[in-house]
């Protein structure tokens, strides 16, 4: 499997079919045994790192951390196809932090939402 092409930047769908985001990063584990894929990363400053590392570093210093990052362990990944299906509940995940924020603070307050 080509990790860059088939995993990175693919759409992630949770167990209930909810769009969680794209795979912004992939963690490769090097310790303990042979090198392997250990987790998918969604959200936080992960994406910014790929656009501009200096900017990402600056944001992390300002905010004191990577923001709302979601690490999905590789054993939760169920299927890799058009989308990546994960055995995970998106609703509480940090990947949807900003979705919830926009819903609760802005969109949800407009009548008829």
């Amino acid at each position: 499997m080509e990790l860059g092409r088939e995993v990175l930047d693919q759409q992630v769908i949770d167990a209930r079919g909810i769009h969680m985001g794209k795979v912004d990063g992939v963690i490769l584990s090097l310790g303990d045994g042979p090198a392997r894929v250990s987790a998918l990363v969604i959200g936080g400053t992960t994406l910014l790192w790929r656009i501009h590392a200096g900017l990402a570093r600056w944001v992390e210093r300002r905010r004191g951390g990577q923001g709302h990052v979601d690490r999905i362990p590789w054993d939760q990944v169920m299927k890799i196809g058009v989308d990546i299906k994960v055995n995970f509940e998106a609703e509480r995940s940090p990947a949807l932090h900003w979705e919830r924020w926009v819903r609760d603070r802005i969109i949800g307050r407009i009548p008829g939402a």
Binding site: M1, E2, L3, G4, R5, V7, L8, D24, G25, V26, I27, L28, S29, L30, G31, P34, A35, R36, V37, S38, V41, T46, W49, R50, W74, D75
Partner: protein, 108 residues
């Protein structure tokens, strides 16, 4: 100094790789993995051209029209085993051996 416990795929892609003698081999284009049991083990790294122009020509190679017009070039790609990669400093990946002269650098 030993290699870190974990690294980021997205930060590894695009990094310039030097061989054991310090010569640039190319940029990391892809990491290949294979399922084994529940895990996906890393098997190979694909190393592509390191110059901008060669990258553009390789991208243009995906369009048949440009290919027919001769405005592209098949990228020179090497596929090397993952274990050859020395990630002691993940920002400066190196190979454990010298590959210039193409020994072992199988065509993709």
């Amino acid at each position: 100094m030993s290699a870190p416990q974990e690294i980021r795929l997205e930060r590894l892609l695009g990094k310039l790789v030097l061989d054991a003698a310090g010569w640039p081999v190319g940029r990391i284009e892809e990491v290949l993995a294979q399922p084994e049991g529940d895990a996906y083990l890393l098997t190979h790294v694909v190393i592509g051209p390191d110059s901008r122009l060669a990258q553009w020509l390789a991208a243009a190679h995906q369009l048949p029209t440009l290919r027919a017009l001769g405005l592209s070039r098949r990228p020179s790609i090497r596929k090397v085993p993952w274990t050859w990669l020395d990630l002691t400093d993940p920002d400066k990946p190196r190979l454990h051996r010298a590959v210039l002269g193409d020994q072992g650098g199988a065509a993709h």
